[in-house]
C-alpha cells in the first residue's frame, strides 16, 4: 500500500517545515530541526548547504516514510519559479499532492502556477492551510480564494480552534471531535468534545462538507436523506471526489507549532490516490506511438521512468518511478530511447541524502539506481517491450551569463561542475562562445543561475569571475528567399566542387527543418547529409549579431556535382555559401525572449503596477481584481526585467510581488535592435 505524494506551494509557505514534521511523526527522524533554526542544523530535506543557508529548497528531495502500514514516498519540491523544472518532474511521477497555502498570504501567483502544473498532470490534491498561528491568519478567506482564484471545489474537513497566537487545535468535521496536540512536540493527540462556541460553526461547515461529498456518492446521499451518514461513508465519498479531481479536501494547522500534522497524514492515506487509482499512459513504440494504459500490476513486465539524475559522491544516481512490473537488483533492463541494455546494480530508497539498500521495487515505488547511464526522462522496460512514457515538458532557458575561471585549476573544476549540472537539470545549459572563448551558462532566471554559480564555487571550489546577466537573443528570417550557390576551389591537388540550390523560409515553433527535394541525383545521395551539416553549422550564428538562428526551414531542390572534386567538405562549404546567399535576402530579424509576468498586489497600487510594466515595454494582457487584490498579467521583454523586484518593492511598499516565466520569442523593435547589435559586437571584441 503506497502513496506517492508531492508537496508543492508558494515559496516560504512552509513545505520543508511540514515535511520535517511528517518525518518526525512517522518516526523517520528522531529530532526536528527548523529551516532557519537556531541549532544551525537546518531541515533534514534541505541537505544542500546553500538550501540551509538561504532557507529555500532548490532541489527536490525524495524521501519515504510509513504511516498506518502505508509506505509514503514524498518529494519536497522547490517553491521558486526559476526551479519550476523540479516541480514539473516531481508532478510527472507523483500520484497526488499536498498543496500548501499560507493562512495569511493565501493563494499567491506561485500557487496559481503550481496548481496549473498539477492540473496539467491531472494530480489529485488536498490543501493544507498552514501557519494558522500567524498574525492575520484567516483560513476561511484562503478557502474562498482556492475556490475563486484556483477554480477548485475546496471543502473544509476541519476548522481551527482559535487562530493566531490562540491556535489550540482543530475540529474534525467528520467525527465531530476537537483534537488537541499535546506533548513537547505535539505528538500526543487529545480528543475532546467540540468547544461550545464553535459548535454552530462546526455544524454549518459539516453540512457544507456533506453537501459537497454527496455529489460523489449515492450511498452517502441516501444515508443523508435517512439521517444516518457514517464517518466512513463521508470519507469514501471525499476520496472518490478527490481522486476524480472533483473535490479538494482542505485541512488546517500550523506545521511550525506542531498542530494538525497527524490528521494530515491520515488524510493522505484516506483521500489521496494509490498508484492503482491513477491511470498512467505510455506510448507503444511498435505501434506508431499508440497510447496505451499501464497496468500498475507488480506481476506484469517492467515499465519505469527515470525522472531525475543526480551526480553525487557515489556516482550517477538515477531516480526512477516504477509504473508497472517489478524492478529487481541484478535484472537486465532496456533503455527504450537508446535501445541499450543495462544491469540493475545497486537499488536504494532515498531519504534526502541518505539511502537504504533494497532488493526490489514494485509498481508504484519511487527508488534510485546506481551506475545506470541515462538522461532524465528516459524509460526503462523489461527486455522485449518497446514502450516509452510520454515526454516531459521542458521550458527553454532565457537568460545567460559568462563565467571565466581565474586559473587552470578553476577551469578543470568548472568543467566538472558544468558536466554534472547540465546532466541533472535540462533547463540549465552551457556552451563556449567560439568568438569570445567564454563559457556561457544559461537558465531560467537570475536566481537559477545565481544558485548554480554558488554551487560551482562551494561544491567544486571553482574560482570564477561572473559577467553581467545577458538576454538570450535569437535571430530568424521573415520571408522566403531563393539560393543557388556554386562552391569551386582549385588551388593545387584535388579541387572542391559543389552546387546547392533551393530556398529558405520562415517556420513557426521549430528551430530548424531541412527538406531534401532533390530528384534525379542532381546532388548524389551521399552528399545530402553534408548539405544538412553545412547548414546546421551556419545556424549557430545569425547574420545580424551572431546570435543562434531559429524558425528556419531550408529546402534544397537542385544542385550539381563533379565526379572527382565533389566531397563531403565541398558540399558542406557549398551549403554554407548557399545559406549566406539565402539568409541575406530572407529579411533577417533579431528576436528577444518575452516573459509572462504576473504582478500581484493590493488594488490601490494597480495603476502604479501597470505604469511600471508599461515603462518596461510591457504589454498589459489583463487584470484580475478580487477582494481588494489585483493580479496584473503582462508580457514584458526579459531585457527590461532586470532589477524589477526592487522597483516593485518601493512602488508598493513591499506589498506586491511578481512571478515570471518564458512566453515566446518576438522581434526586437528596430530602434532597440541597433543597440543590441552594437553591444553584441563590442562584447566579441
Amino acid at each position: 500500500m503506497v502513496r506517492n505524494i508531492g508537496i508543492s506551494a508558494h515559496i516560504d509557505s512552509g513545505k520543508t517545515t511540514l515535511t520535517e514534521r511528517i518525518l518526525y511523526y512517522t518516526k523517520r527522524i528522531h529530532a526536528m530541526h527548523e529551516v532557519r533554526g537556531k541549532d544551525g542544523v537546518g531541515a533534514t530535506m534541505d541537505s544542500m548547504e546553500l538550501e540551509k543557508e538561504r532557507g529555500i529548497t532548490i532541489q527536490s528531495a525524495a524521501t519515504y516514510c510509513t504511516w498506518k502500514e502505508h509506505d509514503i514516498n514524498i518529494i519536497d519540491t522547490p517553491g521558486h519559479v526559476d526551479f519550476t523544472i523540479e516541480v514539473e518532474r516531481a508532478l510527472r511521477v507523483l500520484d497526488s499532492a499536498i498543496l500548501i497555502l499560507c493562512s495569511v498570504g493565501g493563494v499567491q501567483s506561485q500557487t496559481i502556477t503550481v496548481n496549473r502544473q498539477m492540473t496539467r498532470y491531472g494530480v489529485p490534491r488536498i490543501a493544507f492551510v498552514n501557519k494558522c498561528d500567524r498574525t492575520g491568519a484567516n483560513p476561511y478567506r484562503v478557502i474562498d480564494q482556492i475556490r475563486n482564484k484556483l477554480g477548485l471545489n475546496a471543502v473544509l474537513l476541519q476548522i481551527p480552534i482559535g487562530l493566531e497566537e490562540n491556535l489550540k487545535g482543530v475540529v474534525d468535521l467528520i467525527t465531530m471531535k476537537a483534537l488537541y496536540f499535546d506533548g513537547h512536540m505535539g505528538e500526543v493527540i487529545r480528543e475532546e468534545d467540540i468547544p461550545d462556541h464553535l459548535r454552530e460553526e462546526a455544524d454549518a461547515r459539516r453540512e457544507e462538507l456533506i453537501d459537497a461529498a454527496t455529489m460523489f456518492s449515492d450511498e452517502l446521499t441516501e444515508a443523508v436523506l435517512e439521517g444516518t451518514p457514517t464517518p466512513d461513508m463521508i470519507r469514501d465519498a471525499v476520496r472518490t471526489g478527490t481522486i476524480s479531481l472533483g473535490l479538494v479536501p482542505a485541512l488546517v494547522g500550523s506545521a511550525y507549532k506542531n498542530k494538525g500534522i497527524q490528521p494530515l497524514l491520515n488524510a493522505l492515506i484516506d483521500y489521496l490516490a494509490a498508484p492503482g487509482d491513477i491511470e498512467n499512459k505510455a506510448l507503444n513504440l511498435n505501434n506508431n506511438e499508440e497510447e496505451i494504459t499501464l497496468s500498475s500490476n507488480a506481476g506484469d513486465p517492467l515499465v519505469s521512468l527515470a525522472f531525475k539524475i543526480e551526480d553525487g559522491r557515489y556516482g550517477q544516481l538515477t531516480y526512477v518511478r516504477v509504473y508497472s512490473g517489478t524492478l529487481r537488483k541484478g535484472d537486465t533492463i532496456i533503455n527504450s530511447r537508446t535501445g541499450r541494455k543495462c544491469k540493475v546494480g545497486r537499488l536504494v530508497h532515498m531519504h534526502s541524502d541518505e539511502m537504504k539498500e533494497i532488493l526490489e521495487a514494485r509498481a508504484g515505488d519511487i527508488v534510485a539506481l546506481f551506475g545506470i547511464d541515462c538522461s532524465s526522462g528516459d524509460t526503462f522496460t523489461s527486455l522485449g517491450l518497446s514502450i516509452s512514457m510520454t515526454s516531459m515538458h521542458v521550458p527553454v532557458p532565457v537568460i545567460s551569463l559568462a563565467v571565466v575561471p581565474v586559473d587552470n585549476k578553476a577551469q578543470v573544476n568548472l568543467s566538472k561542475a558544468l558536466r554534472r549540472f547540465t546532466r541533472e537539470d535540462p533547463t540549465f545549459r552551457s556552451h563556449i562562445d567560439s568568438e569570445t572563448n567564454e563559457t556561457i551558462i544559461s537558465g531560467m532566471g537570475e536566481l537559477h543561475l545565481e544558485v548554480y554559480i554558488e554551487r560551482m564555487k562551494r561544491e567544486y571550489d571553482a574560482k570564477i569571475e561572473v559577467g553581467a546577466p545577458q538576454v538570450a537573443y535569437r535571430e530568424t528570417i521573415t520571408r522566403r528567399a531563393e539560393f543557388n550557390y556554386i562552391h569551386k576551389k582549385q588551388t593545387g591537388g584535388s579541387g572542391q566542387f559543389g552546387r546547392v540550390a533551393g530556398f529558405i523560409e520562415p517556420l513557426e515553433d521549430v528551430e530548424y527543418e531541412f527538406v531534401d527535394k532533390i530528384v534525379g541525383g542532381a546532388i548524389p545521395r551521399e552528399f545530402i547529409p553534408s548539405c544538412d551539416k553545412g547548414f546546421k553549422k551556419c545556424l549557430k550564428k545569425g547574420p545580424i549579431a551572431g546570435f543562434p538562428m531559429t524558425g528556419v526551414r531550408i529546402v534544397i531542390n537542385d544542385g550539381s556535382s563533379h565526379s572527382v572534386d565533389s566531397s563531403d567538405m565541398a558540399f558542406q562549404n557549398a551549403a554554407a555559401g548557399a545559406y549566406k546567399e539565402g539568409v541575406g535576402k530572407a529579411g533577417p530579424a533579431l528576436l528577444e525572449p518575452i516573459m509572462k509576468v504576473a504582478v500581484e498586489g493590493p488594488s490601490e497600487f494597480q495603476g502604479g503596477i501597470m505604469g511600471s510594466l508599461n515603462q518596461r515595454r510591457g504589454l498589459i494582457v489583463g487584470t484580475l481584481e478580487q477582494d481588494d487584490y489585483t493580479v496584473v498579467e503582462s508580457e514584458v521583454p526579459l531585457s527590461n526585467m532586470f532589477g524589477y523586484s526592487t522597483v516593485l518593492r518601493s512602488l508598493t511598499q513591499g506589498k506586491a510581488e511578481f512571478t515570471m516565466e518564458f512566453a515566446a520569442y518576438r522581434q526586437v523593435p528596430s530602434g532597440l535592435a541597433d543597440d543590441v547589435i552594437k553591444e553584441a559586437k563590442k562584447r566579441r571584441k
Partner: protein, 245 residues
C-alpha cells in the same frame, strides 16, 4: 482573403461600426438575450472587428476568468480565419491581440465608479487609450441608473464605443415600448443601439449548419443613423458566428 477585404465583407458592417468613413465613435450599444444564445460571442466579434481595424479595446468581464475570456477570442478568431480564409493569420493574431486588455472582476466586487477609475489610470498614465469597450456580465437587475448615466458621460467625454450584454428571462414579461425586455426596459433611453437575440425555429439558409434553429439579431433601436436595419443578421447556431442572410 486579405484583411481589408474581410473587414468590408464582415456582416457587422450592417451595424455601421465606423465603416466607410461614417464614424460612429461615441456609442452605447446593448446586446440582450436569454442565457446561452451567444451574447458574449457577439461582443467578442464586435471587439475583434475593431481590433482588426487597429483600434484598441478594453474587454471587461464580470464573473469570468482571464483565461476563459482569452480562449473566447482565440475561438472566434480561429473561426473567422477559417470562414474567410484569412491570409497571414498567425502574425495578424499576435498583432491584433496586442491591442486588447481584458479586465476581469468578481461579481460582488464590481462597481462602475471603480471601472471608471481603472480606465482613467490607463488613459492618464498613457498606458492604453481604448477606442472601444465591451462589457460582458454586467448585472442589470442590480444596476443603478446613475452608474449607467455616468458611463454614458464617460463614453461621450473620451469618445468610446461601448457595448454591453444583458440577460433577459422568459418569465419576466416586462418590456419597453420598442420591445426592449426587462431588466433593461427602463434604461433603454441610455443606449444608442439595442440588439435583441431571438431563437427562431426555421430552417437555416442553404449551406448553413444548424438543426432547424436560427438565432436572429433583431435591431430594436438605433439612433446613430448609420445602421442598416433592412439587412437581416443571424448567428450560426453551431459556431455562434454572425452571418448575413
Amino acid at each position: 482573403m486579405v484583411i481589408e477585404d474581410f473587414l468590408q465583407k464582415n456582416p457587422l458592417r450592417v451595424l455601421n461600426l465606423d465603416a466607410d468613413g461614417k464614424v460612429v465613435d461615441r456609442r452605447m450599444g446593448l446586446v440582450i438575450a436569454r442565457a446561452g444564445l451567444g451574447k458574449t460571442s457577439i461582443l467578442v466579434q464586435i471587439a475583434l472587428d475593431s481590433l482588426l481595424r487597429g483600434k484598441r479595446i478594453v474587454h471587461v468581464s464580470i464573473g469570468q476568468n482571464l483565461d476563459k475570456t482569452k480562449a473566447r477570442y482565440d475561438d472566434i478568431y480561429n473561426n473567422t480565419v477559417k470562414a474567410y480564409n484569412l491570409e497571414n493569420a498567425a502574425a495578424l493574431r499576435d498583432e491584433t491581440m496586442r491591442n486588447r486588455i481584458i479586465m476581469t472582476f468578481n461579481e460582488s466586487g464590481f462597481n462602475v465608479p471603480m471601472l471608471q477609475e481603472r480606465l482613467n489610470d490607463l488613459i492618464d498614465q498613457d498606458i492604453f487609450r481604448p477606442a472601444g469597450l465591451v462589457f460582458d456580465g454586467y448585472d442589470f437587475t442590480l444596476a443603478e441608473k446613475e452608474d449607467l448615466i455616468g458611463m454614458r458621460k464617460l463614453v461621450k467625454k473620451i469618445g468610446l464605443n461601448v457595448w454591453f450584454s444583458a440577460v433577459c428571462h422568459r418569465n419576466d414579461p416586462r418590456e419597453s415600448k420598442v420591445g426592449v425586455p426587462a431588466p433593461c426596459h427602463e434604461v433603454e433611453d441610455l443606449f444608442d443601439t439595442i440588439i435583441l437575440l431571438q431563437a427562431e425555429s426555421r430552417e437555416p439558409a442553404a449551406g448553413r449548419s444548424g438543426n432547424g434553429k436560427v438565432i436572429e439579431l433583431n435591431i430594436l433601436k438605433d439612433t446613430t443613423g448609420g445602421t442598416d436595419s433592412s439587412r437581416i443578421l443571424n448567428l450560426d447556431p453551431a459556431t455562434l458566428m454572425i452571418i448575413r442572410e
